[in-house]
């Protein structure tokens, strides 16, 4: 019995090859700039810094010797109370909560949104909230990660009366 064999029609073969070459070029370009210093990027990449991101695969490439956590506390008339951020913002990915990601806590705008959302999400509305970044060195060889040489950095203090405008002018 004859085999059922079919392939790409001749008219589509050259466009197909061009597509493969463009894809290879794009992936190669993304590799070229994956770990390079953004200061050295060409102007077009500085302007569109995310244009190569879909094909950038620098996964677990560099050393990371410290843990990072965010902690929060809320001020009520009777004083400050610690807040469990994980309970207020329960979504968790394998990389942790999204506010743990470096681009998040490095951004003043995102920290404002987090603080403002925290004011709105707490059962009893506080007068103010404060968010602190805690970093400490990892310990190899064990599950427990004691907070050795802990460093605390205050990211933001936020008055809950203050208004914040989200995209599209949205306010709570």
């Amino acid at each position: 019995m004859a085999q059922d064999r079919r392939t790409t029609p001749p008219a589509l073969r050259l466009p197909g090859l061009v597509f493969l070459l463009l894809m290879a070029g794009y992936q190669a370009l993304a590799f070229r700039y994956a770990l390079s210093d953004p200061q050295t990027w060409p102007d077009w990449l500085k302007e569109h810094s995310f244009s190569l991101w879909p094909a950038t695969w620098s996964m677990f490439t560099t050393r990371d010797r410290s843990h990072t956590l965010l902690e929060a506390r809320a001020r009520y008339p009777e004083g400050w109370q610690d807040v469990d951020l994980n309970a207020v913002f329960p979504s968790r990915w394998e990389s942790g909560p999204r506010y743990i990601r470096k681009p998040f806590w490095r951004s003043r705008t995102y920290n404002k949104t987090l603080a403002w959302s925290l004011c709105g999400r707490l059962e009893r509305r506080p007068l103010a909230v404060e968010i602190t970044k805690v970093e400490w060195r990892k310990t190899l060889g064990q599950v427990e990660q004691p907070r050795k040489d802990e460093e605390r950095t205050r990211l933001i203090g936020w008055d809950c009366e203050e208004r914040l405008t989200l995209p599209q002018g949205r306010r709570l």
Binding site: R5, Q27, T61, F89, R98, L140, Q142, Q168
Partner: protein
């Protein structure tokens, strides 16, 4: 008789049975990605407060998903995966629906796009060009174009991450990069991974294996004799990651296209051996 042209060689039909396996594995990987998003819709994908507009995702400047809208988009993604699983004429529309719904949720969340979100999209691109809408593929030979797209993507994925590891300060050759990742609060912390992070004699060879496998993949995958060996090595790598780290559905997603990456004639040989064995096992009952 004239020699075959470049296009005849590049587009010579290949045994297509592997596409069925990859289609089903892709659906499972997609479900492993999509189902855990359900409880996070109100909090992360369609919240009323934590809304961001961030490059490259400016969706929130134009559209903010309500929690109900987020739920509908999520359900559309699941429906797309089920259509893809059903196959036939529903396969391609299903794949497109899944990709569109998935990226709508990711764009609404705007902040947390994972490597596996991008990997599953590139694999989806390969599937779009493959014969996923046909049934009975184990008896058919089809255009290899979709397979070339997938091979090219995996060459870039593994090659790029392997070469970057090999070059970046050479910590992957002599240092302890992996050990630090194995005790990460989020990605690491499993008892096995934490124990490994203290065993330099074990994690150092694991680092070498990772870099050698990844950096050599772009060449090895194209050589018929090495192709199955490198895919077995890749499966072991992903099994190791799955056992020692928490990377979500990354391992399932990455492995889902392996059947198509396997050299089609090797895959056909395996299929025929399996079919013969299944036939001989079934024959007494007949």
């Amino acid at each position: 008789m004239s020699a075959p042209s470049w296009s005849d060689r590049l587009y010579a039909p290949q045994w297509a049975g592997s596409w069925t396996a990859t289609r089903y594995l892709y659906v499972l990987a997609g479900l492993a990605t999509q189902l855990p998003r359900l409880p996070m819709i109100d909090d992360a994908y369609a919240p009323v407060d934590m809304i961001f507009s961030k490059p490259p995702f400016h969706l929130a400047d134009h559209l903010i998903l309500s929690p109900t809208g987020g739920l509908l988009v999520w359900a559309a993604g699941v429906a797309g995966l089920l259509m893809l699983a059903w196959g036939g004429r529903l396969a391609r529309p299903g794949l497109l629906l899944w990709l569109a719904a998935s990226w709508l949720l990711l764009a609404a969340e705007a902040f947390n796009i994972k490597a596996y979100d991008r990997v599953i999209t590139w694999i989806g691109l390969g599937l779009l060009f493959g014969p996923i809408g046909e049934r009975g593929l184990t008896g058919k030979w089809r255009s290899p174009f979709g397979r070339w797209v997938l091979i090219l993507f995996y060459m870039a994925l593994y090659g790029s991450t392997g070469w970057l590891k090999a070059m970046e300060g050479s910590h992957w050759w002599s240092g302890d990069v992996l050990a630090w990742h194995l005790v990460d609060l989020w990605f690491g912390g499993s008892p096995l991974g934490a124990w490994l992070s203290g065993q330099r004699w074990l994690y150092l060879p694991m680092q070498w294996f990772t870099v050698l496998f990844e950096a050599s993949f772009p060449l090895a995958i194209l050589i018929r004799r090495l192709n199955p060996l490198w895919l077995v090595a890749g499966a072991l790598l992903h099994l190791g990651i799955w056992l020692t780290m928490n990377v979500g559905p990354f391992s399932y997603v990455a492995l889902s296209a392996y059947p198509v990456l396997l050299h089609p004639e090797v895959a056909r040989g395996l299929w025929e051996r399996f079919s013969r064995r299944a036939g001989s096992d079934a024959s007494p009952a007949r």
